[in-house]
């Protein structure tokens, strides 16, 4: 935990949170006939796990500011994707976001971190967010890059793998960033800044029924290329630096002996016999 600082004044502080909708991580998505997309008919769509942590952290910052009596920051959720991502944004509103922005243009679809980062950066700039929280890595593409692209395009300080956040003054934020091997570093970033939040920073809350009812009345704005002032060729598939040309199920095997189809007791006996031969018992 970071030590408490003096209360700061932050009239009109705006916090943006990037929410990506991804296939449920317990499922095995099938490859579509195109060979380069996943078959999304049977997919159960959820909010990417780190993004729930980013949203939770934003809610905690809003609550901390309220408690310190320094003005309630506004919390805006952003999501780029087809019509289905409205459900993810409604959930963010139910959890406590004040309003949501859906980047919904058909031209936004099929992008990579560069293309999506460009569109999101334009939307975040338009909303004049002082602090942006995103996930460290999406559960589907796992590029770990979209927030860095947003920061780079907007010319803002950036940190990846953020494990604690505190607004210390109206113009800066103190954070803990994870390093390899379990050590951490404490950093100060000037606002406006972009932070990519790592899983485990907090335990995301569940939406209440009351929250879900309130969410229906909160504003959910839909924006396209024209609203954001971006060229169609700069975003989506056309604006991506990369093209996915094929998807494959990774080859299994290559490992050792697989004990399959036995009753638990039999499998356990067999495994112990092997461990005994390995001189481990």
């Amino acid at each position: 935990m970071l030590p408490r600082q003096q209360p700061w004044e932050n009239p009109g502080l705006k916090i943006g949170v990037c929410i990506k909708q991804v296939p449920d991580s317990d499922a095995h998505p099938r490859i579509a006939d195109t060979g380069r997309h996943i078959d999304d008919r049977e997919v159960n769509w959820v909010i990417s796990s780190c993004d729930l942590c980013a949203l939770e952290e934003a809610l905690l910052l809003v609550e901390a500011a309220e408690k310190a009596g320094v003005g309630r920051p506004e919390l805006i959720a952003f999501s780029l994707g087809p019509a289905r991502v409205e459900e993810a944004l409604r959930k963010a509103l139910a959890l406590g976001a004040d309003r949501a922005v859906h980047l919904a243009d058909a031209d936004f679809q099929g992008g990579d971190a560069l293309a999506d980062g460009r569109a999101l950066a334009a939307a975040i700039d338009r909303a004049a967010c002082d602090l942006v929280l995103a996930g460290a890595q999406s559960d589907d593409l796992g590029q770990a890059a979209t927030p860095a692209v947003i920061a780079g395009l907007l010319g803002r300080p950036y940190a990846w793998l953020v494990m604690a956040v505190e607004l210390e003054r109206a113009d800066s934020v103190r954070i803990v960033r994870e390093l390899e091997g379990g050590s951490n570093e404490v950093l100060r970033l000037g606002l406006p800044a972009v932070l990519a939040v790592q899983a485990g920073i907090n335990k995301p809350r569940f939406a209440s029924l009351r929250g879900a009812l309130q969410a229906r009345r909160k504003p959910l704005e839909t924006v396209d290329c024209t609203t954001l002032g971006v060229e169609a060729g700069q975003v989506g598939e056309a604006g991506a630096g990369t093209e996915t040309t094929a998807l494959r199920v990774p080859p299994t095997g290559g490992g050792g002996l697989l004990i399959e189809g036995d009753a638990p007791e039999t499998a356990a006996t067999e495994l112990l016999a092997h461990l005994e031969r390995e001189a481990l018992l």
Binding site: D140, G142, G152, L179, T252, E260, L280
Partner: protein
């Protein structure tokens, strides 16, 4: 040298982690014109992503000289530092960005192709850059360092562009080492690890019981720790402990690259997982496909019977 072949930059010293030999081995696949850029904190000043991306980007642009820039690949090891600033390097160079690659191919006519995992290693994607420049980070363990060529003779040290000096965009206030907390995982000869598949804080006992029966320490995958089922000091993986016991038993662990980075040096790896396609099985010497809540208690019972307990 063929004109269509790219200039391949190997970036060395971008944080701790996998060495440059794997990156060199990858670079050799992409083209014969290898160059080495060295990041040196003494020369560059304290690390921050914007500054390092700008410094490295400016160097590559300068080395390209005037006229049409050659097709360029910049390869960095996928360390926490490189993964943080590489997307901004790609922006600086107008390059495509391909993170954490596990495979690379070149057709000799300028066409490049990379392989990377998506959907948490459930699928592999073949990715092609659509630009003449590409920045890619190399996943640890994906390329054999035995196949690394000799490093190029000319090493270019990255310096700070003049207009950037004295403008830290972020300031480091301090460092905190990992807490030990009375768990000796690195020194353990046997480890039983609970993965997210154990299902909850109350179920971690299936792993703890087996660990006790084997005389092993108790390990955890990151989600188990993130969910508060076990304290952080039990975590194995790139952001936790690196271990190499005689016996490593993974219960309900899928086998993500970040987990494997912490335990693939174990002598015998045993995995229990109910998904036969779980990547952990490709590194395990012995795998049991089944419900860990049935298999682990059976193992514990048999071991306790043997010991006369």
């Amino acid at each position: 040298m063929s004109r269509t072949e790219p200039v391949v930059w190997i970036v060395e010293n971008a944080g701790s982690g996998p060495g440059s030999r794997e990156t060199l081995a990858c670079g050799r696949i992409l083209g014969p014109d290898l160059r080495l850029a060295l990041l040196d904190e003494e020369r560059l000043g304290p690390y921050s992503p914007g500054v390092y991306a700008e410094a490295l980007g400016a160097l590559i642009v300068r080395e390209n000289g005037d006229g049409e820039p050659p097709s360029t690949v910049v390869l960095l090891p996928h360390t926490y530092q490189a993964a943080e600033f590489a997307p901004q390097l790609a922006l600086r160079l107008g390059a495509a960005y391909v993170p954490s690659i596990s495979g690379a191919a070149a057709d000799g006519r300028g066409g490049l192709c990379f392989r990377r995992s998506i959907l948490q290693a459930r699928l592999q994607a073949e990715v092609r850059p659509r630009t003449r420049a590409v920045v890619a980070t190399v996943q640890s363990g994906a390329f054999s360092s035995d196949e690394a060529p000799a490093p190029p003779e000319r090493v270019v040290e990255v310096c700070l562009p003049a207009d950037m000096e004295g403008q830290p965009e972020r300031e480091t206030l301090g460092r905190m080492a990992a807490g030990a907390g009375g768990v000796d995982l690195p020194g353990a000869e046997r480890i039983v690890t609970a993965g997210r598949g154990v299902g909850g804080a109350d179920e971690v006992s299936v792993a703890a019981d087996l660990a006790a029966a084997l005389g092993a320490e108790l390990g955890a995958s990151r989600p188990v720790v993130d969910n508060g089922w076990l304290p952080r000091e039990h975590q194995v993986g790139s952001s936790g402990h690196t271990v190499a016991p005689d016996l490593y038993v993974a219960l309900g662990v899928s086998g993500s690259i970040q987990h494997l980075m912490g335990m693939s040096g174990s002598r015998i790896i045993v995995a229990v997982n109910n998904d036969p396609e779980a990547p952990i099985f490709s590194v395990a010497q012995y795998g049991v496909v089944g419900d860990l809540h049935e298999v682990a208690p059976a193992l514990t019972r048999l071991l306790n019977e043997r010991a006369g307990r």
